[in-house]
């Protein structure tokens, strides 16, 4: 596995977090709780970003473009050297699944908080991983086990239709194309291959039959350097747009004891095909009959790790650092039993009524939900967005004693959460929590396409409420200096009077 068998917790004293936004802050909080000095890196677009403020120290690594900063391996390693870092945590995205980076980190004599580079290489190729899983006796999605190219096109008679074209080097839904008819195949292959090349520098594709209806269920694993492997439960990530997750929950409403045992067994088999320590996720599709099919394995922290932390009471990031330092997983992890129900919704700066397209703009107001059973991991500040990076603003997580209570808590939290200045997907999430499919838990990956579509039209009562609010806004603003909201409120007594009048106006 690793050459660093000798490592003890004390071997990690200063961690450079090679990421930004909410996940960088999440990692830095774990560092602080472990008594480890944390170092932020930032691009020129992020000089005032929250993750810079959350660290013990911060280093500039380059211009805004990711290639020049958060993907800039030499700049990051140089920052680590200048700051005396002894370990690097990659977060998710950016360089987290880049074996070259992992290798460079280790060659620089630093602890890499992640799996061995060889493991990343083995699993980074989704097609190879698919073959390995199949050989390990794990059911995989029906389709081809060989790469496609302009010559080798997938025979619909063999793969079946509709089929999904996927990038061997892929992930995050990029380089994927859904193909309904043989006629679409050539164009789809070209488009998917181009997208894959631009995203991953490798246009290799493979083909899978489309499982539909299907649920996307993944198993969270945590391994140490001594061969211990903990199974921290499953997550259901079936609410997706563009093959990317929007909502995750644990436990999965679609998984019973029998299926859970089968999923955990398959996950352990897949993990057994590679030398591995760190947090990892094995992803499956589950069809209507409760059969499961291996999709891929990610050996990094997942965006949605928080719901598993809420259900298990464990700090997965702290354990990532501890196993990287050579600690053994103990019974508190190996025997953990999840409790209650946890749901996460991702708050993106994108417009659900415009095909979930990212929106640019400035956040003029931010009011996060608070109170019992709420966790809001975010890096939101009032001010302009940085369109260079992923439009994820925040992750709203709720935990309650059972699923109905969790859904009610999520609805309450969504009603408390306000983002001003631009459209976010909060409008979709607020719609979702009132849908019978979601309330009952009986939904699948087609939910958004089939039930949301382009989004519901504005109801007349909503329109009339918006009109009322806008008129009151203009009336109230007319009392301020420049007739806009930009200014602080004129005087407190003034608005106090305003409130009391409003309250006295009550019928009764």
């Amino acid at each position: 596995m690793s050459v660093r068998k000798d490592i003890t917790p004390s071997a990690i004293r200063r961690i450079l977090v090679a990421n930004r936004g909410e996940i960088a802050i999440r990692v830095m909080r774990a560092c602080r709780e472990l008594g480890i000095f944390s170092i932020a890196v930032f691009s020129d677009a992020d000089a005032l970003a929250p993750h810079v403020a959350a660290a013990d120290m911060a280093q500039r690594i380059g211009p805004p473009a990711p290639a020049d900063s958060y993907l800039n391996v030499p700049a990051i390693l140089d920052a680590a050297r200048r700051c005396g870092a002894d370990a690097i945590h990659p977060g998710y995205g950016f360089l987290s699944e880049n074996p070259g980076f992992a290798r460079a980190v280790q060659e620089a004599g630093l602890v890499w908080i992640g799996p061995p580079p060889e493991t990343q290489e083995a699993l980074g190729n989704k097609l190879a991983a698919r073959r390995a899983a199949s050989e390990a006796g794990v059911p995989v999605v029906p389709g081809l086990l060989v790469p496609l190219d302009a010559q080798v096109t997938p025979d619909p008679a063999v793969v079946g239709l509709p089929m999904m074209l996927k990038a061997a080097a892929g992930g995050g839904g990029r380089g994927m194309r859904l193909v309904h008819t043989a006629a679409e195949l050539p164009d789809a292959m070209r488009a998917a291959s181009r997208e894959a090349r631009s995203a991953f520098g490798d246009g290799t594709l493979y083909a899978e039959r489309v499982i539909s209806p299907a649920r996307h269920v993944e198993v969270q694993l945590l391994g140490d350097r001594h061969g211990n492997l903990a199974c921290l439960g499953e997550r259901d990530c079936s609410v997706q747009r563009r093959h990317q997750k929007l909502v995750e929950e644990t436990p999965s409403p679609a998984v019973d004891g029998t299926l859970r045992a089968a999923l955990f067994d398959s996950a352990r088999r897949v993990a057994g095909t590679v030398a591995f320590h760190n947090a990892a996720t094995v992803e499956f599709l589950v069809d209507g009959e409760g059969h499961h099919y291996f999709l891929e394995m990610n050996t990094r922290l997942q965006v949605e790790h928080g719901v598993t932390e809420l259900a298990t009471g464990l700090d997965i990031v702290a354990w990532q650092i501890r196993v990287a330092a050579g600690e053994r997983l103990d019974a508190s992890v190996l025997d953990v039993q999840p409790r209650g129900h946890a749901i996460e919704v991702r708050i993106y700066a994108e417009d659900p009524w415009d095909a979930f397209r990212p929106v640019a703009g400035t956040i003029t107001a931010w009011q996060p939900a608070e109170g019992p059973g709420i966790r809001m991991d975010h890096a939101v500040v009032e001010g302009p967005l940085t369109p260079e990076y992923d439009p994820l603003l925040a992750k709203l997580m709720v935990h309650a004693q059972d699923r109905p209570a969790a859904v009610d808590r999520l609805r309450r939290a969504l009603d408390e959460t306000l983002v001003g200045g631009l459209q976010t997907d909060l409008g979709f999430h607020r719609w979702l929590v009132d849908q019978p499919e979601f309330v009952s838990g009986d939904y699948h990956t087609g939910l958004i396409g089939e039930r949301w579509g382009d989004g519901p039209a504005l109801a007349s009562d909503e329109t009339r409420l918006s009109a009322l609010a806008a008129v009151e806004g203009r009336r109230s603003a007319a009392a301020t200096r420049d007739g806009a909201w930009a200014q602080p409120e004129a005087t407190t007594p003034w608005s106090r009077t305003g409130r009391q009048e409003a309250v006295r106006r009550w019928p009764g």
Binding site: R357, G420, G473
Partner: protein, 154 residues
């Protein structure tokens, strides 16, 4: 402040009369709407006649206009209808992936003009109205910053 008319998506709207609005945070435009049986928070932003109201996570543009503002707006709309030139600019920084039209081509409202890849996804830039394609200011493969002129519609 009498005589304000409200339009949403071009249609005249009568404000909900049976509901009440209470400001909770005037500076940030946070208010409570309630009819005594239900309540929800409203986020109100804007100035002059241009307002945005967010209810249950949905942000709706609302025009609140005096008689004078309304007449001006109608005049502007008429002018646009006659088809003065329109400048199409990038709304996000990104990469021009493909140009779908040529200078001089006739296009109808909604026709795809070019494709831009931004924030990990490809976006079609479409014609806001019928017209003739004038200058094309970018070429495929070119990175563009937000606000950069892409194309002129005559």
């Amino acid at each position: 402040m009498a005589g304000l008319t409200v339009t949403v998506a071009g249609a005249h709207v009568e404000p909900a009369g049976e509901w009440r609005l209470e400001w909770l945070d005037r500076r940030r435009g946070i208010a409570r709407l309630s009819d005594g049986q239900h309540s929800l928070l409203a986020l109100v932003e804007g100035s002059g006649s241009e307002w945005f109201v967010t209810l249950h996570g949905r942000r709706t543009p609302v025009a609140v206009m005096s008689w004078r503002e309304r007449t001006l707006a109608e005049a502007r709309a008429a002018a646009a209808g006659e088809g003065g030139p329109v400048e199409i600019r990038a709304t996000l920084p990104g990469l021009v992936v493909a140009i779908k039209v040529e200078a001089g081509a006739q296009v109808a409202a909604g026709d795809a003009l070019l494709t831009i890849e931004a924030m990990k996804m490809q976006n079609e830039v479409r014609a806001p109205r019928d017209g003739t394609v004038g200058q094309i200011a970018v070429e495929a493969g070119q990175p563009v910053a937000a606000g950069v002129l892409l194309l002129r519609l005559e």
